[in-house]
Amino acid sequence: MLAQLFGFKGGVKPQTNKAPSVQLPIGQAPLPSCLFVPLHQNIGGAPNPLVVVGEHVLKGQLIGGADGWVSAAVHAPTSGTVLAIEEHVAAHPSGLPTLSVVIEPDGRDQWIPRTALDHRSLAPERVREILRDAGVVGLGGAAFPSHAKLTPARAVPMQDLVINGAECEPFMTCDDLLMRERAEEIVRGIAIFRDLLGAKRVLIGIEDNKPEAISAMNKAVLRLAEDYAVVAVPTRYPAGGAKQLIRVLTGKEVPASKRSTELGVQCFNVATVYTAYRALAHGEPVISRIVTLTGNIEQPRNWEVRLGTPMRELIALGRPKADTDRYLMGGPMMGFEIPDLAAPVVKATNCLIAGSPALFPASPPEMPCIRCGACAEVCPHELQPFELYWFSRARNFGKTQEYHIFDCIECGCCSYVCPSHIPLVQYFRFAKSEIWSREREKQAADAAKARFELRNAREEREQAEKAERLAKAAAARGSERKPAPASAAVLPPTVEPVQPVAAAESAEAVSPSDPDTVRKATIVAAMERARAQREAVKPRNTEQLTVEQKNEIAAIEARRAALKPEPAAAQGGRADSATSQERPGE
C-alpha cells in the first residue's frame, strides 16, 4: 500500500539486545506492599490531590485532578487506604522528592464502577476531556498529555496519523510485546485518534526487527477491516523518535519551532493508543503500564506494572545478577540512572535495565574534540554537535541557541560515535537547563522590576494625591476661616487625652506577663507602639474598655467630629493648620 519510505539522515546501529526480554509473554506484576503514586507524572500542570489521608480508595479512583488543559489526571492503581500524601523520591535523574499519594493495598483490587463509551457517540471535546481525566499521556517516555495533541491545526488539513511502534531503543521491548499480544485493542484505539484528528491516512511504523509485531498488527488490521498501513521501517536508532518516524513515513520534517499538526501530521505511541482505547471502551483509566525489565538479570521479561510500584519490588521479580551496579530507567541511549530504587514506576517508565560493568562499560576518558565531524554525520536533526559542544562548554548559551540547541532531541547518537568520548548530550542538557533557568530568572526579574515600578508609581501618586488633598483642605480652610475660631481653643485638650488612654491600656495589658529579657521588652515596645498607632488611628476598636472609658472616648469623638471641618486654625497660618491636623495620626 505504501510505496515510498523516506529515511532520515544520521542515526546509529547499536546492538539491539532485545531478544532476551521477548521470550516470555507479558506478566502481571504482583500487587506491591505499598504504592507511591506521584501526582505529577505528565508534562504540564501538576495534578492536585483529591483524596485525604486515611481515605479508602478504589482501583481507578481519581486521586489527582488535572490542573489546566495541558495536564492529566492520576488514579489509584488498586483499592486500598491512603496512608499519606507526602514527598517521595521521584523517578527522576535527580532523585529529588515529589508529592505522592501513598496507598496501602487492601488486596481486594476492587474497581470503581466503569462505563464503556463509544467515542463516535460523543462530541470530540468530550472525548478529549475523558482522555485527560483518564490520565492518558504519551507512554513512549515523554508523558505529554495525549488529549492536548488531538486538536488538528485550523489552517492545515490533517493528512497522516503516524502510530509509533518502532521502538528503536536497544533492550526495550514493551511496545513489541504489546503489539504482539494486544494488537486488536491498539487497532481499535487508533480509530479514536483518527476520528478526533480527522486524519486521512493512518501509518503504523514498526522497525523491521520485529516481524512478529508486524504480522500481529497486520492481522488485526485485516480482521477489523481497517485501511491502516502497517509499515516496516529500517532498523536504525532513532527511527522511533516521533520526528524521525514522521519523516520516514511521510517525508515531512517537523522542526522544533513547529507542532506536527501544523504540517498535517500527528504521532502517537502504540501503548498510548492502547490506553486510550481502554479508557474509552472499558472505562479504565491509566493505572498500569507495560515495563520491560531486562539487562543483567536472571529473568528478563515484560511486566504489566501498576503505576506507583516501587522499582525495587519490580526489579526483584527479575532476580538481578550479583555484579549489577546500576539501574537505568528508559533505554540505554536516552534513559537515565535511577538514583534511588524506592522511586516508583510512573507513566514514563517504559523500561528498567539492570546494568553491569560488562554491559555498560565505563566511558573511556574524555579527550579534546578533534572536529572530525562524526557527530554531525550521525545527528538525525542534522545539527553540528561539535559546535554546540564548544559553545555549551564555554557557557556561550546565546550561540548554542543560534546553532539550534533546542532542536536537539538528546538521542545520544553523537556521544555514541564520538572518538574523543565527549559526553556531548550531557553538555547539551546542561546548556538547555541553564537556558531555561536563566529564562525563568529573567522572567522573575522582569516581574519584580514591573512590580517595583508599579509600587513606586503608586507611592508617588499617593503622595501627590495627599499633597493635593492637603492643599485643597488648606485652601478650604483659608476660605472658611471666619467660623473657625470658636473651636480653636478647644483643640489642645482634645488631642492629648487620647494617647494617655491608649498607653495606659496597653501597659496594663502587657505588664502581668512581662518577662525580663530584652527581647521580650522590644516586643512589648513594638506592640505598644503598634497598638498606640492603631489606637490613635482607630480609637473605636476597643471592645474591652470600661463603660467610663467608652463614654469618655465617645465624648472625645463627639468633640473631634465637631472639630473636623475646621480644625485648629487658631494660629491662623496655613502651615500650622496642616501640622495640627496631622498630629492625631502621629
Binding site: L328, G355, S363, M367, P368, I370, L383, F386, H404
Partner: protein, 341 residues
C-alpha cells in the same frame, strides 16, 4: 574509579582518536612503500627520526602542560604529524632538519595553541613552511635521479658525516620544469621538456608519480573506511586541475597538464592527508568543498607563479586562516528547516 554516568550508556566501542590516527597512518603506507622503492630506506630513517622527536616533543609539552601522558601520547596524532613532515621533507635532508621541523610543529604549532584539537594551522605544514623559509637550500636538495646509494651511505649523509654537495644535485620534477622554463625564456616548451628530460616519467615525475599514486590509493582507502569525507579532496583536486587545465588548454607549450600537476609534489598527499585534517580544516560539507577548492587554486598559483617549488603547504596554511569564516557561512540547514532559508 569512574562514577561518571551519563547517557548514552552504550558507546561505539570502536571509536577512538587513536583508531582514527592509526588508520591515517595505515593510509600513508602505500605511498611510503613507493617512496622506499624510489629513494631507498633513507626515508624510513627520516620517518623514525620524525616519530621519535614528535613523541619526545609531545611528552615534554604534555608534562609542562600537566596533561596525562598515557592518554595523549598514545593518541597517535603526533605520529601523523611526524610522518607528514618526514614525507614532505627531502629524504636525504640532514637529521637535525627533520628533528627541528618536527619539534617546531609539535611544540609551537600544536601545543602552544592548546594541543590536540586546538591548533588552527596544520602542524606539519607549519613545519614545512618554517623550514623552507629558514633553510631554503637544504629544503630544496633532492637526491638526483638514478643515484644509487647504499643504506650506509644514506645514513652517513643524513648524519652529516658524508659530503652532501655532489649527490644532492637533483630537483623535484616541479622544480625542474619551473627552472627550465625560467632559464629557457621561451626557447623551451613543456612537451619537449617532459619528453627529453630524464626526471620526467610516464605522466609526472619519474618515480614520484608512483609515490603520489600510492598516496591516492591510501586516501581512497581512508575514504572507503569513512575516516575522511570526499568533499575536501575532491575540492582540492578540482581546484588544482581547473586552474592547471585552463592554463594548459590556453598554452600547452608553457604549462604542464593537470595530470602532471596532480601527480607531482605534494598534491596527492595534500588532497587526502592534509586538507582533510579535521582539526585545522572546515567542518561543514560545503565548507570542506570550498576549503579544498581554494587550497587547490592557491597551491597551483604558488607552485607555478611563486618562488617556491611547491605550494601545497602555503595554500593550506592560508586556507586554515579562512576556516572560521567559511564554517560560519556554510552552516547546513537543519532538520525541518530546509525550505525556510
Amino acid at each position: 574509579m569512574m562514577n561518571w554516568t551519563t547517557p548514552p550508556y552504550l558507546l561505539d566501542g570502536q571509536a577512538s582518536v587513536r583508531r582514527v590516527m592509526l588508520q591515517v597512518l595505515v593510509g600513508l603506507l602505500p605511498g611510503i612503500g613507493a617512496y622506499v622503492w624510489l629513494v631507498g630506506p633513507s626515508i624510513l630513517l627520516q620517518l623514525a627520526l620524525a616519530t621519535i622527536s614528535a613523541l619526545a616533543g609531545e611528552a615534554l609539552m604534555l608534562r609542562l602542560r600537566g596533561k596525562p601522558l598515557s592518554l595523549f601520547l598514545g593518541d597517535g596524532s603526533a605520529i601523523v604529524t611526524a610522518w607528514l613532515i618526514a614525507l614532505t621533507f627531502p629524504p636525504l635532508a640532514p637529521w637535525w632538519l627533520v628533528v627541528v621541523g618536527t619539534l617546531f610543529a609539535i611544540v609551537v604549532a600544536k601545543h602552544l595553541y592548546g594541543g590536540l584539537g586546538q591548533n588552527p594551522f596544520n602542524p606539519a605544514m607549519v613545519a614545512f613552511a618554517a623550514c623552507i623559509v629558514s633553510f631554503p637550500a637544504l629544503m630544496s636538495q633532492w637526491p638526483a635521479l638514478g643515484l644509487k646509494l647504499t643504506f650506509a651511505e644514506q645514513v652517513s649523509i643524513i648524519a652529516g658525516l658524508a659530503p652532501r654537495i655532489d649527490v644532492m644535485s637533483g630537483a623535484t620534477p616541479l622544480d625542474a620544469i619551473k627552472t627550465a622554463l625560467k632559464l629557457g625564456e621561451g626557447t623551451v616548451d613543456v612537451p619537449t621538456l617532459l619528453a627529453t628530460q630524464d626526471v620526467f616519467g610516464n605522466f609526472a615525475g619519474r618515480g614520484w608519480e608512483w609515490v603520489t599514486t600510492g598516496y591516492l590509493l591510501g586516501g581512497l582507502w581512508l575514504w572507503q573506511r569513512r575516516i575522511i569525507t570526499w568533499y575536501a579532496p575532491l575540492g582540492f583536486i578540482c581546484g588544482l586541475s581547473l586552474l592547471a587545465g585552463a592554463l594548459w588548454l590556453w598554452n600547452p607549450q608553457g604549462f604542464a597538464s593537470p595530470l602532471f600537476h596532480l601527480f607531482s609534489g605534494g598534491a596527492m598527499l595534500g588532497a587526502f592527508f592534509i586538507v582533510t585534517d579535521p582539526v585545522s580544516g572546515c567542518t561543514t560539507s560545503r565548507g570542506k568543498l570550498i576549503f579544498g577548492f581554494l587550497a587547490g587554486l592557491l597551491a597551483y598559483t604558488i607552485r607555478v607563479f611563486g618562488g617556491y617549488p611547491d605550494g601545497v603547504a602555503f595554500a593550506v596554511l592560508l586556507m586554515n586562516l579562512c576556516v572560521p569564516l567559511i564554517d560560519m557561512y556554510t552552516q547546513p540547514p537543519i532538520f525541518g528547516m530546509k525550505n525556510q532559508r
